[in-house]
Amino acid sequence: MVRDAAPTPPGTQQDLPLEETVPPDEAPGSPIEAAPGRFEASIRRKSWPVAAPAERLWFCAWLPNLPLESVDDRGGGPMAIVAEQHGIHRVVMADAAAQAAGIMAGQSANAALALLPTLQLTERSVLREEQTLERLASLLERFSSFVCIAAHDVLLLELAGSLRLFGGLRRLRTEIVESMRLLGFSVMPAIAPTPLGATWLARSGRCSCIRETGNLVTTLRKLSLASLDWPASLLAELAGMGVTTVGDCLRLPREGFVRRFGAERLLELDRALGHLPDPRNSWRAPERFSADHEMTEEQADRSVLLNICRELLLSQERFLLARQLGIQRLCFSFFHLKGAATELRLGGARAERSAAHWFGLLGIRFEQLQLPEAVIAVRLQSGLAQPLRTESDNLNFTGTPGAQQRRFSITQLAERLVARVGEQSVHAMMMVADHRPHYAWRAQSILADWAGSTLPDERWRIQRPLWMLPEPAELPLDSGYPLHQGCRLRLLDGPERLETGWWDEDGISRDYYTAINPAGMRLWIFRNRQRPTTWYLHGYFG
C-alpha cells in the first residue's frame, strides 16, 4: 500500500521483495524468537521480534528550553539566545516575552534588536548547558541510583528500584518534575520501559506514562518520526516514501531498511521497542578528596607540619591512583586553636596526581607562608578530580646528555615560578593585529592552553624599539625642542604617522620619530598631533 506510492531509489527495485513484509498485526504472534544481543543475526530475521516483559522503568526529562534556562542571571526583561551561524549572529531561542514581541528563532540578532531594543542577547554556550545538565543530574541522584545524561538536553533516570521508597510512580513523577520546575526548568517528562522509548515519548511532548512493554509498542507505533531526533534529510526521505510514524517504519522489511538507512537506525528501533538491551552509563558526580590530620597538641615546628602535608598528599595520591584521576587545584587548611584557619592554595597547569609534584609546589609556597600561631589540625581538600592526561616521552636509546638534563617542561617551570612569585608576574606574550603600539601585543597566561601568535609574519618598513615604556613619558622642552637627560635630541627617522583607533575610546593621532641623544641612546619618541607642542618618550631601541 505504502510501498506502491513510494519513490524508490534507482537500482534498488529488486531489493524490495514484497513477500518479506509481514503485516504488523501478525508480528507479535510470529514464531521467530528474538535473539537478545545478537543484533547482526537479528537483521536477517524476517519479522520484527516479540517484545520482552519490562523489568525496568525509565523516566526521561527532556529540557527543551535548556539554552535559555541555563543562563544564571536572567535580568527579568525579554531575553534571547544567539549563536553564530556563517558569521552572522542568529536567534536560537527566545523567551515568552521576546516571542510576544515577534522575535523568532532564525532571525538575525540585529533584526531582533530592531524589533525590541531592550532585548537582552546572550551568546549560546554549550559548556554552560553541559554544566547545568550536570548540576541537574546530581540533583536527581536523590531519586534514583541510576542517572544518565543521554543527550545534550535529555536526562534519564531508572525508576523501578525507587518506586517503593517514594510511594508509587505517580508521586515520584510529580516530585521529580516539581523539583526541577522549582529551579526554573521546564521539563517534558515521559516514562517507559526502555530508555529510548522514554526519550522519544518525552520529545513528542506528550506526558505519557507507560509501564507495560506491550503498551509501549502500541504507543510508539503512533509516534511521529519527527520526535526521534533523526537527521532531517533522513526524515525527508522517509516522508517521501510515505513513512511518517514509527509504525510505518516497522512495516518495512528489516533487511531493506538496514540497506537504505543503516544498521544504526534499526538498532535504535529495536532498542526503543525493548527487543534488544540498551545498556547505559550511569552518571556519577565528580569526586573530591578530603582528609584531615588532627594532632593531640599544638604544633609550631614547620618541618613536622611539612611532613604531615606530605602524608596527606600521599594518601591523596593513592586515592587518585585507584581511580586514574588527577587534580588541578588543592587547598591546605591549617587550623589554629584561636582564630580563622590559614589557607594555602596550589594550582597547576594540568591535572596531576603525583604527591612529589604537589609536594614540590608546596615546598616553594610553604617557605613564604606566615602562620600566626601553632597549628592543631591540617586539612587537605582537593579540587575536582579530572581524567588524567599523561604525556608520552621520547624513547631515548642514545642517552644524549641534552635529553637527560631536561628536568622539567616549561609548564612545570611556570608552575614553580607561579607558586613563588604569583600568577600575574609570569606570562608569555602574543601579538595582536592593531596599529596602536600599546595594543599590538598582549600578555598571555602561560598555564592556559594557547597556540602562540597566529599573525602572519609581515615586514614592517619601520623598525620598532625592543624596549617599550609602560606609559609614554612626557619629555621636557627647550624652546620647542624635546630634551632627554638634559640634552637636545637629533631626529634620525620619521615621522611615521599613526592615526587610528577612532572607533573606540582610545584613538591616537601621533607622529613617531626615531631620535638619538648625544650619549648615543636611540629613542622612540612621538608628538601628539592634537597638542603639537608636547613630546613623549615611548621606547628605547635597546
Partner: protein, 210 residues
C-alpha cells in the same frame, strides 16, 4: 695524540701561543668583529655572561638578538626535540613583541617573569637555568655577589643554558664568576664594547660595534 690530551688542549684556559687552533665552540654572536675577540668564536655557551651598562637604547639587546633568534628557532639538525625558551627575569621595561619579531625571535617561546623582590629574581633565574627548558635566561638583578654568580654559573652548566646578567657599571669592581664580562658605552658615533673579562681570551675594546 691521545684523546685526553686533545681534550685538555680544547680547554680555552690552555694558552697555546699565536698559532692556536681556533675551536668553534661558541655561539656565533652575529657580529663577526666581536666573534674574533671571543675564545671559541662566539658567546660562551652553558655559562654566565655579564653586560655592564647604565644606558638603555645603546644596543644592549641588539647585541644578543642574532644569537637568541638562533636559539629559539627550530633546528632540524639538533638532537633536542624542540627549541628552548627564552626567559626574561625582571626586565626594566616591557620587551616589545613586534620588535622581537623583527629580530627574528619566535614569540611563542618567550617567558616573562617579574618577581617582586631581589631574592626572588635570583631564585627564579636559578630555576629557569637549571630546568633545562630555557635556552637562554636574561636577567636584571639588583645585586649579584660572587657567591650568587658562582651558583648561577653552575645552574647554567647543569641545565645547559645561557645566562645573561645586565648590571650597572659600578659592578665592574666586584668579583664575579662570569665567563665573560662586557662593558657597553654609548657614544655619539656608536656603541663601544669593552671586553673586560673573558675566560680563555683577552680584554679588548671594540669601537662602534653597534
Amino acid at each position: 695524540m691521545s684523546a685526553s690530551l686533545d681534550k685538555l688542549l680544547e680547554n680555552p684556559r690552555v694558552w697555546r701561543g699565536r698559532n692556536a687552533i681556533q675551536q668553534k665552540t661558541g655561539l656565533a654572536s652575529g657580529y663577526p668583529e666581536l666573534d674574533r675577540h671571543l675564545p671559541g668564536g662566539g658567546w660562551p655557551q652553558q655559562a654566565l655572561i655579564e653586560i655592564l651598562t647604565e644606558q638603555y637604547g645603546i644596543g644592549e639587546l641588539r647585541l644578543l638578538m642574532p644569537a637568541l633568534a638562533r636559539l629559539c628557532a627550530e633546528d632540524p639538525q639538533s638532537e633536542q626535540a624542540e627549541p628552548g625558551w627564552i626567559a626574561w627575569i625582571a626586565p626594566p621595561f616591557q620587551p616589545y613583541p613586534p620588535a622581537l619579531r623583527q629580530c627574528g625571535i619566535d614569540l611563542s617561546r618567550m617567558l616573562i617573569v617579574r618577581p617582586k623582590d631581589a631574592g626572588d629574581v635570583l631564585w627564579s633565574t636559578e630555576q629557569a637555568l637549571s630546568s633545562g627548558t630555557c635556552a637562554a635566561v636574561l636577567f636584571w638583578p639588583e645585586k649579584l655577589d660572587d657567591q650568587a654568580s658562582r651558583r648561577l654559573q653552575l645552574a647554567a652548566e647543569k641545565g645547559s643554558s645561557w645566562a645573561v646578567a645586565f648590571r650597572p657599571l659600578a659592578a665592574r669592581q666586584q668579583p664575579s664568576a662570569a665567563a665573560l664580562r662586557l662593558e657597553l658605552h654609548g657614544t655619539g658615533e656608536g656603541t663601544r664594547v669593552h671586553v673586560i673579562k673573558s675566560r680563555g681570551g683577552h680584554p679588548a675594546v671594540l669601537n662602534n660595534l653597534l
